[in-house]
């Protein structure tokens, strides 16, 4: 199960190990870590947002370990992807490392590529892909599409975005 967790860590070196080691020891796999250094709290702690995959049964044990390590858990929950969009990609999608393109979205911690249908014609012709991206919110979704557009520009892929939904029927 994919878990998202907001933590507060003391602003001293090595604190992150107190979080990552227990996750790793319990067989978890971290997808994304965001250090909010710019949002330091009055308690002199640094907020950290974490997304990881882990067996749901082991969550309680993880919480205990984090407690013991003096890590403050502000919020924890299943990552809920509430918003969805579709994007078409045209170009040399495979040759330009499809995995990296997907990882860039999945690695955000707030969005993931939920589905990707690929059509590959002759070897030299451009491929086409219909990509479904889900994110935790509207802003996050926009941000993930921007990330995809940046990568696409670098890889000379043509991106076709959906029309901005203004609440029109069927938009």
């Amino acid at each position: 199960m994919r878990i998202s967790m907001d933590l507060e860590l003391r602003d001293t070196p090595g604190q992150l190990m107190h979080v990552l080691a227990p996750i790793s020891n319990l067989g978890g796999n971290v997808t994304s870590i965001l250090h909010h250094h710019d949002k330091k709290t009055a308690r002199n702690t640094v907020p950290v947002s974490l997304v990881f995959e882990m067996d749901e049964q082991k969550l309680e044990e993880l919480q205990q370990k984090l407690d013991e390590n003096d890590v403050l858990i502000v919020r924890m929950g299943k990552m809920r992807l509430r918003t969805k969009t579709h994007v078409l990609l045209i170009g040399h999608i495979i040759h330009t490392d499809l995995r990296e393109t997907i990882d860039a979205i999945d690695g955000t911690g707030f969005a993931e590529v939920q589905d990707l249908s690929l059509s590959m014609p002759a070897i030299d012709s451009p491929s086409s892909a219909f990509v479904t991206i889900m994110a935790t919110g509207v802003e996050e979704l926009k941000q993930s599409v921007e990330i995809l557009k940046d990568i696409a520009q670098r890889k000379d892929l043509h991106v076709i975005e959906p029309i901005d939904d203004r609440g029109v029927a069927g938009g």
């Binding site: 579709h86 994007v87 069927g170």
Partner: protein
């Protein structure tokens, strides 16, 4: 109109598909009188419209005088100049000079030519105001589909927040036909060229330039912009593959070349098959987002001789009505 007011005099400058369409329609309107028709080779003064139409179709010269189009605009007494020469987006010529001179000569101008408006929209509107005459250009955007007069006259009670639409029939034909028939881009393009839907050089349409010109005109007319073609972010349809269209279609989406007036952009966009802008073939469509009237969508024929001419004729008649 059965009263004895003298007919309103027009010149038709440019005698291609639209000019001929205007000539054909004007014949049926007794209150209008064409005093001159100009094509690229010469001028027919006080023409018999039936005769010049027949000559043009037969490839014969129509000129019966030594005057140039500019001479007609400057010196022949008339009320409305119908400027329907081909669009040139680089410098707007020859249309720009025609429109400028007509306005300076205090003649009303009705045009289907995007060139002058894309190059010098604000200058020409200022000039029209200073001369106390009208400059009308309904036919420049969406052909027969009403949009400019619709916004200016009918939607005066609300603020327009955005306009976006499918504004190029050639691109829409190609994108529709590819996915409906399972043909690739090059096949459909050459088919469209055979049918006269696409030009021999399709660059102007498929790279999005034509749509961008329409965005420029709408942005200047309704959003107080002072922009030209260079200010629009343009992506065309040339890179779109049949595979991409089919993948989208399987999920309930189509791709349309969308001009967005608020964003000043032209690019292919994914839209739901149920979206009001999902029109097929050579049709145009535009959605006008308003502050208090919600979204209003119009659709209609974006090109064609008689269709475009009907929008030109509408502008001519509305100028006359406003005067009375």
């Amino acid at each position: 109109m059965q009263n004895k007011t003298p007919p309103v005099k027009l010149s038709i400058i440019g005698f291609g598909a639209v000019g001929q369409g205007v000539a054909a329609l004007v014949q049926k309107v007794p209150q209008l009188k064409v005093v001159a028709v100009a094509d690229s080779k010469g001028v027919a003064l006080m023409p018999d419209l039936e005769d010049v139409l027949a000559r043009k179709k037969a490839g014969q010269p129509i000129a019966n005088s030594d005057l140039t189009a500019l001479d007609v605009i400057r010196t022949v007494a008339h009320d409305v100049v119908v400027e329907v020469t081909p669009t040139n987006v680089v410098d707007g010529e020859p249309g720009l000079t025609h429109v400028r001179e007509a306005l300076r000569s205090r003649r009303n101008v009705v045009t289907s030519n995007k060139g002058p408006l894309v190059v010098a929209f604000n200058e020409l509107n200022k000039l029209a105001r200073a001369s106390g005459v009208a400059l009308r250009y309904e036919a420049t955007v969406g052909g027969a589909m009403p949009i400019i007069n619709l916004i200016r006259d009918t939607l005066v009670g609300t603020r327009v927040l955005d306009i976006r639409g499918v504004l190029n029939g050639t691109c829409n034909y190609i994108l529709t036909r590819m996915v409906e028939e399972g043909l690739d881009y090059d096949q459909v393009l050459s088919e469209a060229q055979d049918m006269g839907i696409a030009e021999a050089d399709p660059t102007y349409d498929v790279t999005g330039i034509d749509t961008a010109c329409k965005v420029v005109i709408l942005a200047n007319a309704f959003f107080g912009r002072k922009i030209t073609f260079k200010d629009i972010n343009v992506v065309g349809i040339e890179r779109i593959t049949l595979d991409a269209l089919q993948l989208a279609r399987q999920r309930g989406y189509v791709v349309k070349l969308i001009g967005d007036v608020k964003e000043l952009s032209v690019s292919p966009k994914l839209i739901s098959v149920r979206h009001p802008l999902n029109v097929s073939g050579t049709l145009n469509a535009a959605s006008i987002l308003t502050e208090t009237a919600g979204e209003i969508t119009v659709t209609g024929k974006g090109a064609g001789s008689v269709e475009t001419a009907s929008a030109v004729l509408g502008d001519v008649l509305s100028i006359i009505q406003q005067r009375h």
